[in-house]
């Protein structure tokens, strides 16, 4: 049995959908409305790994008796455990590059992109919700890091200054990606891999969220890279699972920014 619990195919939720379609795997889609916090009503498991969500929000994959969490390790698991198209690099150094990319982009894009997306699209929807219902749902969220990330969207934490800092900090990972693409078409070796699925899911929304940072003139290789991945049938199939028709406008809070400042 293979079941994917997911919301709109964007950012963290997009990654396993692309990987499963690349594998042409048969799976049951268990869609939930993350913007209504419906996933906190699901009783999928009490496993530590699923409950203590390190990305704070994201998909869950049930494979027989195990619930897999964390979107990067989930796509590595899909690559590893399911038959079909090879999605892991082959050479040990390329595997290292995939892991290092997942770790680096997880910390940088995984925290910065959701902030910009949530402020633009999710916050107005949260404010339109019934406040009593919303507060009741927020109060039930554990552990507290997940609750805090939702409350921060409502309490004015993300000031224009913080958003400007987030945009400024995006320049560092974006420059690294642009530089890496100068040495080859993919992020971890000569072939498309989980590193590209991971990066694409967070990068593809940036031409909308930060057009001044990601555009044909500032990041030509990144734009070409995104266009190349967007054309893949598996990516199209994953995006076609959207219920809103605009998956790129649906966000959830992401990885906690570094607590060191």
């Amino acid at each position: 049995m293979l079941e994917l619990y997911h919301s709109e195919p964007n950012t963290f939720f997009l990654k396993p959908l692309v990987a499963l379609h690349e594998k042409q795997a048969r799976f049951e889609s268990r869609w939930f409305n993350a913007e209504q916090l419906d996933h906190f009503q699901l009783n999928t498991t009490r496993d530590i790994e699923a409950h203590l969500h390190l990305e704070r929000e994201g998909p869950l994959l049930r494979h027989d008796d195990t619930v897999i969490s964390n979107s990067f390790f989930m796509i590595e698991y899909i690559a590893d455990a399911l038959p079909g198209e090879r999605l892991m690099p082959e050479a040990p150094y390329d595997i290292y590059r995939a892991h290092a990319s997942g770790q680096f982009l997880g910390a940088h894009l995984g925290s910065l992109v959701p902030i910009l997306g949530c402020v633009k699209y999710l916050v107005p929807r949260l404010h339109a919700m019934d406040r009593g219902k919303l507060d009741a749902r927020l109060a039930s969220i554990a552990p507290q890091e997940r609750r805090v990330s939702w409350q921060a969207l409502l309490d004015g934490t993300y000031t224009p200054q913080i958003l400007a800092t987030a945009r400024e900090r995006l320049k560092f990972p974006l420059a690294r990606i642009e530089a890496q693409l100068a040495s080859g078409p993919w992020l971890a070796g000569p072939r498309y891999s989980i590193a590209d699925i991971d990066a694409y899911a967070m990068l593809c929304v940036l031409p909308d969220l930060t057009p001044e940072l990601v555009n044909e003139s500032a990041t030509p290789r990144t734009c070409e890279y995104l266009a190349r991945i967007s054309a893949r049938p598996a990516v199209r199939a994953a995006l076609a699972m959207s219920r809103s028709g605009k998956p790129e406008q649906h966000f959830v809070p992401g990885v906690e920014p570094s607590r060191w400042g």
Binding site: T66, F73, E76, P92, I95, Y96, Q103, V255, R259, W260
Partner: protein
């Protein structure tokens, strides 16, 4: 092809590839980089790793600078006992816990460690020397961390939150190890190598949270790893009192 490893003490990130290499039986050329003398920000080292972070590993023409992916490389690239489980679900669990250690437990523990150990160890030097040292740090995130440590700019609220998280994480780890012999499940793996580097000194640094009465499974797990020949070999390379803390895991210390 010789493996060159640039590392500090067998502790935290430096200790991860050291112990992984020893478990695989791979000899390496050790280059000791003294973190407290800021060797990692000197021009010679920046030629190897322009980010100025440690550890770094050079294998032929390949340079590796991220410690947890570096361990996976060690397991993939060299002969020797496998350090990843054969079951994909256990491999996933191993990686989940390594991220838990690296991104959640570790930063809180290290914030406390930097406030009580690293900061005081360097703070007596002239302010101008410290400012110059900060100016040489390539990464903004590391400049922020060093500034906090050097000038004791940690806020009480953030230290309190770190202490809360360390207590919470210790409980989560105890819960996990009460149900699994090793981090990944049935197999000793890189997850244990990672976790030992994070947690070997918990009984000393967090005596109220981690002890035989409160966290017996963590204590037994740490002692089992300490008894491995590879662990003994690597911790014997330590040059400071920091690495000596491992000796409190001797069973005779508690007999």
């Amino acid at each position: 092809m010789t493996v060159h490893l640039y590392h500090w003490e067998p502790n935290a990130n430096s200790g991860k590839p050291m112990l992984a290499l020893a478990e695989k039986g791979v000899e390496f050329e050790s280059h000791y980089i003294d973190l407290l003398k800021f060797d990692q920000h000197q021009p010679e080292y920046l030629k190897i790793n322009p980010d100025g972070t440690i550890p770094a590993m050079v294998h032929g023409d390949r340079v590796l600078i991220e410690s947890t992916p570096m361990m996976e490389y060690v397991d993939d690239a060299f002969e020797g006992p496998p350090l990843k489980p054969t079951d994909p679900k256990e491999r996933w669990r191993m990686r989940w816990w390594m991220r838990f250690f690296d991104a959640y437990f570790g930063p809180s523990l290290s914030m406390i460690g930097w406030s009580v150990f690293v900061g005081p160890a360097v703070r007596q030097r002239p302010k101008e020397e410290l400012e110059a040292a900060i100016a040489r740090i390539p990464l903004e995130s590391r400049r922020i961390a060093w500034r906090k440590a050097m000038f004791n700019e940690f806020g009480e609220a953030e230290l309190a939150e770190s202490r809360r998280r360390v207590q919470f994480c210790t409980g989560v780890l105890e819960d996990h190890l009460s149900r699994h012999r090793w981090i990944a499940g049935k197999t000793y793996s890189l997850g244990d190598v990672n976790g030992f580097n994070l947690g070997y000194a918990l009984p000393l640094s967090q005596p109220d949270n981690c002890n035989d009465a409160k966290t017996p499974h963590i204590m037994e797990w740490l002692r089992r790893i300490y008894e491995r020949p590879a662990t003994r070999k690597i911790w014997a390379l330590g040059r400071t009192a920091m690495a000596q803390r491992v000796k409190m895991l001797e069973r005779t210390a508690h007999a």
